[in-house]
């Protein structure tokens, strides 16, 4: 199997490589889709198709970004394993928080703008519509992970419990993809692409000896 390949004797990227500009750059990269979307909504190109049904488009867009960032944050530790670049771990928390940020925007637009805080309708949706239930569970998990993401929380919870709690991301990510797949009308290509990438990222975590 491909996975049983020995890690390079010398890491592809020096373990400690972490230039000062890297974190701000990744921050900007993670934020740029939002900036681009806001610009498209009218500031830059009035009459852009995304502005025809902006609420619906914004919900789709933020959901896409949440899933993308979730996958990117799940790619961090496989990347370290495969390249030996330990420094990448210093980006993981920020990427995870961005995933939560986009998921929160997604939920807030749905609840606040789309349904205009009509709690009766929202609650009925959560109970009746399975894909919304699934999505809500995923967001609640991400919220718990975001709240416990500061370094101080690791100490307070104890490393073991903190790790157990954060293993819930392995539940949140498939639920997020499932939420998407259950929502589409017919075209499953994009949800399946997410599912495929997620599967690869999870397989790369299997306890296969990568080092001598």
């Amino acid at each position: 199997m491909v996975l049983i390949r020995r890690a390079p004797a010398r890491p592809l990227i020096a373990a400690g490589w972490f230039p000062r500009w890297l974190k701000p750059l990744v921050f900007l990269l993670a934020l740029s889709p939002l900036l681009w979307f806001v610009l498209r909504l009218g500031l830059l190109r009035p009459g852009d198709p995304v502005a025809v049904n902006p609420i619906e488009t914004a919900i789709r867009f933020s959901g896409d970004q949440a899933l993308t960032l979730l996958l990117v944050s799940l790619a961090v530790s496989p990347l370290r394993r495969l390249t030996g670049w330990a420094g990448v771990m210093r980006l993981r928390r920020m990427l995870g928080l961005f995933a939560f940020f986009y998921a929160a925007v997604h939920l807030l637009i749905y609840a606040g703008v789309d349904q205009f805080f009509d709690w009766a309708v929202i609650w009925a949706d959560v109970l009746k519509r399975c894909y919304i239930t699934v999505g809500m569970v995923a967001v609640v998990i991400l919220l718990a992970l975001a709240v416990t993401s500061p370094k101080g929380m690791v100490r307070r919870l104890g490393g073991r419990w903190w790790k157990r709690l954060h293993a819930l991301v392995y539940l949140a990510a498939p639920l997020g993809v499932l939420h998407y797949a259950m929502m589409v009308k017919a075209d499953l290509r994009t949800p399946l692409l997410y599912a495929g990438i997620l599967a690869v990222l999870l397989l790369l975590r299997l306890p296969v000896p990568l080092r001598r």
Binding site: G47, P49, V50, V52, N53, F116, A124, R129, Y131, K185
Partner: protein, 263 residues
């Protein structure tokens, strides 16, 4: 388009959805499943020459050039509400002819009970068909009395111009009291048949989409409510009307039917 008779008696008394929205926010999976895909991918779609095959239980079957098939039937402008099954809606000034006029021209026999419509299947010209999102060709159908209803329109234009390809050029159906997916686009075949024909979305997900697909705020889609809709350009959702507001004209077609069963 010259010589269009406006039908103010059939005009929805609501502000029109802008041309820009009508022609860039489309569900037309033959040109891609994104809302803005059709406007992009249908550029240059050739609709001349165009033939429509009429077959089945008709006295005058044949493959007709579109211009000849419609020749002499007066074009009308009708402003209809359009309610998508996804929960959004528009108000659109269509140009077209009553479907009934065309059917009279080809003379359905007494055996004909349903009308089946088929969209062009040509993956070279319709790139969305390269992937089997739906079971191509797209097919839709109406009961004959629905087809003969004066509201049922075969549209050839919108906003006083010929239909842009993303809106179903050169010929599409418009059935304003049904969800938008019933209004099949780029029609190449019209068949008069005896049995209820299989239709694309009902085959794709039978528990979600039925043959009738009448707009009905009391019968939810299994995955979302149909009680409200968002009119494109408006912020708050508005209540969805029974038969999309056309109950006076069409409710009689369904007298005695259980609309929860025949969704």
């Amino acid at each position: 388009l010259p010589g269009i008779t406006p039908r103010p008696d059939l005009a929805a008394p609501e502000p029109l959805t802008p041309w820009q929205a009508v022609t860039t926010y489309n569900n037309f999976y033959e040109f891609g499943t994104g809302k803005d895909d059709p406007a992009r991918n249908a550029v240059g779609f050739k609709t001349e020459p165009w033939t429509v095959t009429v077959d089945g239980d008709v006295a005058k079957p044949g493959t007709y050039d579109l211009g000849r098939l419609l020749f002499g039937i007066g074009q009308e402008e009708r402003i209809y509400r359009m309610r998508c099954v996804e929960g959004w809606s528009m108000v659109i000034p269509w140009v077209g002819i009553p479907l009934a006029e065309l059917l009279k021209r080809v003379e359905p026999t007494g055996d004909a009970k349903f009308v089946r419509f088929e969209t062009l299947h040509d993956p070279k010209r319709m790139p969305g068909q390269a992937w089997k999102v739906l079971d191509w060709p797209y097919a839709e159908g109406l009961r004959l009395d629905e087809a003969m209803n004066p509201l049922t329109l075969l549209a050839t234009g919108v906003y006083g111009r010929s239909l842009p390809p993303q809106n179903g050029a050169p010929l599409r159906l418009v059935v304003p009291w049904k969800y938008g997916f019933k209004s099949v686009k780029s029609i190449v075949r019209i068949s008069l048949v005896r049995e209820m024909p299989g239709t694309s979305w009902a085959r794709q997900a039978p528990q979600e989409y039925g043959f009738y697909a009448n707009v009905n705020p009391q019968v939810d889609h299994p995955r979302w409510s149909q009680a409200k809709e968002r009119r494109i350009g408006e912020f708050f959702r508005r209540d969805t009307l029974m038969f999309n507001g056309y109950a006076d004209a069409v409710a009689g077609l369904y007298a005695g039917m259980d609309l929860r069963k025949w969704y």
